[in-house]
């Protein structure tokens, strides 16, 4: 689309592009561990605190305070790694920024004003205001922070969805000055994929938070610590996890339908469907051989056709319907990421339904092995969130804005590959430290537990020393 942008030195531009992509992928994948946790824990905080205010039961107060500390951790890391993401649009994707700025502008402005400001404003009260404001004011602050995090998901998913299914814009200018300009704000916001993808992302975030709560309290139950508190928390989180695991079936299906309609090349890559127009299978497991255009694995013949059109013989557009340079190159990776996500989704449904069944039979906490599964199940929604995004973003290639702007034309021409190498190494080191910090603090908070026992002064930040002085 923009031949004028192709550099004379092709190898250099390749390397710069690849490095810029690796850096963005690495930093955004790391970032995406945290915001979903904040949103999910935020939901549970609102629930715990609301129950506390209604029942005045101190247990829920303790739960809310305990999870607030973990929320603070995930939120803090989310903010600093989020600043990195925003900067990277400008530093590494300058052409892209110029191209989309006009359209993204309003979404970003809305995100800043309605979401970030709300979150950060009330965060101080949520974290440090327990003894300074009335309980209901505190609850309002908690809700404010939670809503803020939900809103920020709206705007960032809207922006990303616009890259997948652009709407409400027109192209103005030519050559280097060409860019998308907004014509219809609401058409941009409600572009064809926004709503499906947003609900899918929200539910994924709720699951990330709920499974962390399940994991920690399952661990306490196994160890026989904080038993009463943990049973309550576990049950609440289990309800949340069950409802939203099932919900993911619907939002996932909606998303897939949307992809079929709006991004047929991506859909074809998700299932490794090559033939230009033929009934498509659905794979449970598989391996894509791009050279021979074959997929080997366990499949439901005609499954994809059925899911989309309720007819096993309905034709589905395949990869061969698109020119080589308009389809994703990493088809097997897209296929695998997508299938891991689906498999995890199914596993979560099975796991939560099974646990709910035991609860109904009054045997929820009898099976230690089940609790152990929940301890480690915390990784499942995290992995699903990550690979789901990988599938979505790699499936969009070679476009950065679907059908409009190619990824290999969108990176910053002014930045050299050496500079990116330098920053990439920097990010590896700093994020390794940041991740170590996260694990260390999480471990410490979990070890400390939700009770404020008399011999320890339960100071989350530096209390040990005051304790020593005393």
């Amino acid at each position: 689309m923009f031949p004028f942008l192709l550099l004379k030195d092709k190898t250099l531009s390749m390397e710069t592009e690849i490095l810029a992509r690796i850096q963005f992928a690495f930093t955004v994948a790391f970032h995406y561990i945290y915001p979903p946790l904040s949103i999910g824990i935020g939901l549970l905080l609102v629930i715990f605190e609301s129950i506390y205010i209604r029942t005045k039961n101190e247990t829920y107060h303790k739960l809310a305070r305990f999870w607030t500390k973990i929320f603070a951790l995930t939120f803090g890391i989310g903010v600093v790694t989020g600043i990195v993401m925003e900067f990277e649009f400008g530093t590494n994707w300058a052409v892209y920024s110029r191209y989309v700025g006009d359209v993204f502008g309003s979404a970003l402005a809305a995100e800043g004003i309605f979401a970030f400001a709300l979150e950060s404003g009330f965060l101080g009260i949520l974290l440090f205001g327990w003894n300074r404001v009335k309980p209901w004011v505190h609850l309002v602050s908690t809700i404010g922070v939670f809503l803020g995090s939900m809103f920020s998901a709206i705007w960032i998913v809207v922006a990303n969805s616009w890259q997948q299914t652009p709407a409400g814009f027109h192209i103005v200018g030519e050559g280097m000055d060409a860019r998308a300009e907004i014509t219809d704000f609401w058409a941009m916001v409600f572009n064809p994929s926004s709503v499906d993808r947003l609900t899918h992302v929200w539910l994924g975030a709720f699951l990330a938070g709920a499974f962390l709560v399940l994991s920690v309290h399952a661990y306490y139950l196994i160890k026989g610590k904080y038993v009463e508190v943990s049973k309550k928390a576990f049950k609440i989180a289990l309800v949340v996890a069950t409802v939203f695991s099932l919900g993911q079936l619907f939002t996932g299906h909606q998303s897939a339908d949307g992809v079929a309609e709006n991004q047929p090349a991506k859909l074809a890559a998700l299932e490794g469907h090559f033939e230009a127009s033929a009934p498509a299978d659905m794979y449970i497991l598989g391996w894509v051989d791009k050279e021979n255009q074959e997929v080997s694995g366990i499949k439901v013949p005609g499954g994809l056709s059925f899911l989309l059109d309720y007819d096993f013989d309905a034709p589905v557009t395949g990869l061969n319907a698109f020119p080589e340079d308009e389809r994703p190159s990493q088809i097997n990776a897209v296929f695998q990421f997508y299938h891991i996500m689906v498999a995890i989704g199914m596993a979560l449904i099975f796991l939560t339904l099974f646990a709910s069944f035991l609860w109904w039979r009054g045997k929820l906490f009898d099976k230690k092995w089940l609790l152990w599964i929940f301890v480690f199940a915390v990784f499942l929604p995290q992995i699903a969130n990550q690979v789901g995004w990988f599938a979505a973003e790699m499936g969009r290639q070679p476009w950065v804005v679907y059908g409009l702007l190619r990824t290999n034309e969108a990176f910053s021409q002014a930045v050299s590959d050496n500079q990116i190498m330098f920053s990439l190494i920097l990010f590896f080191l700093v994020y390794a430290l940041l991740f170590a910090l996260f694990i260390y603090l999480l471990h410490k908070k979990i070890k400390h537990g939700p009770y404020e026992e008399s011999e320890s002064d339960d100071t989350p930040f530096g209390g040990t020393l005051t304790h020593m002085i005393n």
Binding site: L108, F116, F461, L465
Partner: protein
């Protein structure tokens, strides 16, 4: 070009971005400034109190950076793209230090060993100093202009070109400004011997600022004439530097009288006035090309479409009162001296 209340939309958005950056500089300014003094405080308890003075707000203050950056991206995408990709190294260093600072704040209190706490104290303080300094360096480069060629492409050196003499001066000026500002903030939050010590530090901070500011101003007037053109052509604009100087002079006067709340107000105003000064010097240019003025990025060639700016103005008009409301509410809740309690760092 369409206008609203007599000003065109790019100008309106220029004001919005300027307002957001001023808010950011005032807020994260005291918080970086407080961090910059950290190693000057020797006692463990003093350091804890100083850290907890910024404890409830530093995270929220940094969100202003996200919002300000977002507003620049949204309203002037060309500026955003060119500035960030041209000044790649300082922005990456800024990111490095902002993460290090967050890590230090969180790590410090978690273990009782003295070496542990000293290690993170050093990290915290150096990160705070470097962040303030880098903001100034970026500002210096913007004021002076950078080598932008055709198609808004940067054509200068890629590694250390951003560290030129003028950028160093603006870097030190920003650092000293934030240190004075941060010291006043800490005075509002402390008592007793720590308070007394901070009054002495504030004096040093103000001297540091006066010297840096004077040197930078002289250098600007002599070597970067384009920055004072607007004032020479339109003498009525001299009211702005005049107000800036009065505001600066008022800070030590009020500090001497121990009216620290007012001193903080005027030190915040000083930051705002200095940015107004910068804005007037630049307007309507955002980023000057040192190659040829025809490659300048200004608010018109960098702006989003009028339609887009109109939508964003509506969003800002709805959102700003809300933001002001709960920001004031939060600061009121935490107003007063720091008392270390169970939720402290």
């Amino acid at each position: 070009m369409e206008t609203f209340l007599g000003l065109d939309y790019p100008t309106w958005w220029f004001l919005v971005v300027g307002g957001l950056f001023s808010g950011y500089a005032i807020l994260d300014g005291f918080d970086f400034g407080a961090g910059a003094w950290h190693l000057f405080l020797k006692k463990e308890n003093s350091r804890r109190i100083a850290l907890n003075a910024v404890g409830p707000v530093w995270d929220g203050n940094e969100v202003w950076l996200v919002i300000g950056g977002g507003a620049l991206f949204a309203g002037f995408p060309v500026m955003y793209a060119t500035m960030f990709s041209s000044l790649y190294v300082p922005f990456m260093l800024f990111l490095l230090f902002i993460i290090f600072r967050a890590i230090s704040i969180e790590f410090r209190g978690k273990e009782p060993m003295l070496w542990w706490r000293k290690l993170w104290d050093v990290c915290y303080s150096i990160s705070s100093i470097m962040l303030a300094f880098l903001l100034g360096v970026v500002l210096g480069n913007v004021l002076q202009g950078i080598a932008i060629g055709e198609n808004y492409q940067y054509q200068g050196g890629v590694l250390f070109e951003f560290l030129n003499p003028y950028a160093l001066m603006t870097g030190f000026t920003t650092l000293s400004l934030f240190m004075a500002h941060g010291a006043i903030f800490l005075l509002l939050k402390t008592e007793g011997r720590l308070f007394a010590k901070l009054t002495r530090l504030l004096k040093r901070g103000m001297i540091f600022f006066m010297v840096s500011f004077a040197v930078t101003t002289l250098y600007t007037l002599i070597y970067i004439p384009h920055l004072s053109d607007d004032f020479k052509n339109n003498p009525s604009l001299f009211i702005i530097p005049l107000l800036t100087f009065l505001s600066i002079a008022n800070v030590p006067r009020l500090a001497e009288k121990r009216k620290y709340k007012w001193a903080f107000l005027f030190s915040s105003l000083t930051i705002a006035f200095l940015l107004v000064l910068v804005a007037v010097e630049l307007y309507p240019v955002l980023l000057r090309s040192t190659i040829d003025p025809m490659y300048n990025i200004d608010i018109y060639n960098a702006a989003s479409s009028t339609k887009s700016l109109q939508i964003m103005m509506v969003i800002v008009a709805i959102g700003t009162p809300l933001v002001l409301f709960y920001t004031i509410f939060v600061y009121k809740t935490f107003w007063g001296k720091v008392k270390l309690d169970e939720t402290s760092y």
